[in-house]
């Protein structure tokens, strides 16, 4: 069977597209470079929106990228069940595109945060987290200026009640995110947004752990098993 093909979108200002592609490869899939200005997902089986500062994030994080040409195809495919993982800036883009609820605001402490962060996996049933167990603790890097997840009280209640909080921060909340939320999913579980960076924790040489690899192996296993 051919390897699963996982697209990684590069926007002007993306930083972590190469690391994301590397993580995809280490997880056993073929990374496919996708370009923001193309109306073409190249038939990929899943998509990663990487971290960085798409289009400079000059208005709000993710606000311009939401209108990138390739987002037209991505939004339609995500609504049809395509697995999509937005990491950091990718999470911000998914919220701006209304594939995920809420928004990411400047860190409550106003400083850029860069640290190895403990997390707890709250939902191990999404397309991107089946390789973990519920309650499993991970250490993966977080690095952002706009990581404070915010949503109205009703949305927060819905996310919690429907099991759509994918991961929460442990030990300390690095950005003032409501409910210590580090990641959420859509109702179907195919779209996940995550503020920390699993693609930076896939090899012991360069990361604090290899705890991040599970996000990528989860989706690959699902695709190969499909």
């Amino acid at each position: 069977m051919d390897a699963a093909r996982v697209g990684v979108i590069t926007f002007p200002g993306s930083l972590d597209d190469r690391d994301a592609a590397r993580a995809v490869r280490l997880a056993g899939a073929e990374p496919v470079a996708l370009w923001h200005a193309d109306h073409d997902l190249q038939g990929v089986d899943a998509v990663v929106l990487p971290g960085g500062f798409s289009y400079g994030d000059y208005l709000r994080a993710g606000a311009i990228a939401r209108f990138a040409p390739i987002l037209t195809e991505l939004v339609a495919a995500a609504k049809d069940g395509l697995p999509v993982l937005g990491i950091c800036n990718g999470f911000q883009v998914l919220c701006e595109a209304h594939l995920l609820p809420g928004a990411l605001l400047p860190n409550a402490g106003l400083h850029f945060v860069c640290r190895d962060q403990r997390l707890r996996v709250e939902n191990a049933d999404t397309a991107w987290t089946t390789g973990y167990t519920e309650g499993q603790e991970l250490v993966i890097p977080i690095k952002n200026a706009d990581g404070r997840f915010t949503a109205d009280a009703r949305t927060l209640d819905e996310l919690a009640a429907e099991g759509r909080i994918v991961a929460r921060y442990l030990d300390l909340n690095p950005n003032g995110s409501l409910g210590d939320i580090a990641g959420i999913s859509n109702a179907a579980g195919n779209v996940v947004g995550l503020m920390p960076h699993p693609e930076h924790a896939v090899e012991s040489l360069t990361g604090p752990s290899t705890d991040g690899l599970g996000f990528f192996t989860s989706v690959v296993k699902r695709l190969v098993g499909a």
């Binding site: 919220c95 701006e96 915010t150 109205d152």
Partner: protein, 80 residues
């Protein structure tokens, strides 16, 4: 040429650490009695043609499409 202003503010219930940082500095500068500061954004949009209802409506559409995120922000549109 119509000049239309869009004021964008975080919704009142949303924490504004930038405004708080400004408010904390004020007593040190001798400004007493300031209860709170909220920081927002102002856009000035120049539109071809007269400053009529159509111009305002166009800018309102721009504001709700791009300038403001209605999940977290409110906005007001007015002709300058």
């Amino acid at each position: 040429m119509a000049r239309v202003v869009v004021d964008v503010m975080l919704k009142p219930e949303i924490l504004d650490p930038q405004g708080q940082a400004i408010a904390r500095k004020l007593p040190q500068l001798g400004f007493e009695g300031v209860a709170a500061v909220r920081q927002g954004k102002r856009f000035e949009v120049e539109v071809d043609g007269p400053a009529d209802e159509a111009a305002v409506e166009k800018v309102r559409k721009i504001a709700e499409t791009l300038l403001a995120n209605p999940v977290i922000e409110n906005f007001e549109v007015r002709v300058l």
